[in-house]
Symmetry: C2
Subunit: 170 residues, 2 copies
């Protein structure tokens, strides 16, 4: 599937805005990810307010390019008191994040997964910026924007074949 092989972390963006419908589609793709026992364990916050993006750019020293991003999506762990398989919530949230990256690639939108969980300072910074409830937690922040480089999507050979084996441990 070409999106899987073309996806890369893209941190430099053009001025083109991302439509509301496309941002919604990215969020929908995220919520289609599997979750353990189909538990309702994730919420998404779509941010396209410039002032919030500027604030989020200070979440870590790796996030400054958020100043240039047109939007971001925050993947939030929710419902910790009611979900049946709390110990697998992080699996759900990572799969949700990956779906958003791939759907963005499909739409020609550049994306970058800003590692957040389990780094407490980053999680707290984002949580406080968005007034997220103490009962919930920020798992990831996904920066979004059309790539500045028109050739940003290309297949990079990063597969380590030696990490694949058959029916036994090497």
């Amino acid at each position: 599937m070409k999106e899987i092989f073309l996806r890369r972390s893209i941190r430099s963006y053009s001025d083109k805005e991302i439509s509301t419908r496309d941002l919604e589609r990215l969020a929908e793709a995220g919520l289609m990810a599997p979750s353990a026992r189909n538990q309702d364990s994730r919420g998404l916050i779509i941010v396209n307010d410039k002032s919030i993006l500027l604030e989020l750019a200070s979440m870590s020293k790796y996030a400054s390019f958020l100043k240039e991003a047109k939007a971001c999506i925050l993947v939030i762990g929710i419902n910790k008191d009611t979900i049946p398989t709390l110990h697998m919530q992080e699996c759900d949230l990572a799969a949700t994040t990956e779906n958003i990256l791939l759907e963005a690639t499909h739409l020609g939108i550049g994306s970058c997964w800003l590692g957040t969980y389990p780094v407490k300072e980053r999680m707290d910074y984002v949580k406080n910026t968005l007034n997220i409830s103490d009962n919930d937690f920020v798992y990831s922040v996904i920066a979004l924007g059309y790539p500045k480089d028109p050739n940003a999507f290309y297949e990079k050979d990063k597969i380590k074949k030696e990490n694949i084996c058959w029916n036994r441990v090497k």
Copy 2:
């Protein structure tokens, strides 16, 4: 992207074998997932040996349908002593798992993520079955097979729109 919206957990398989090339392609798709700082944090074991599949079917009470599966892929956390961002290894491994599920959907192959990490009994059972090093850990097991039901892939409306919000917390 249709694969994201058509993917479902499929646990009932036809007799058709999965080709070696397709199994390799699934593993390659997995290794294309993002990893924190591009760390070399995951290994994949492709299992299509029937006797091993039968043993793995006892990894938990939810895994008995592995007896019917044509193959499975194990996603393994590796290199814990050398990777730069160990605390984000689980993010890498979940994204790897999700890529394999989506590539399987793309190839018309049914898949099911068998939750393994962090359930110690399951992790140990699989580790012992495959003689995996104590230095590594089993993150997930992905059952694979062509669906018995020819209409197994369909778009199920499972998106909870109330879990999406814009620029603020509801």
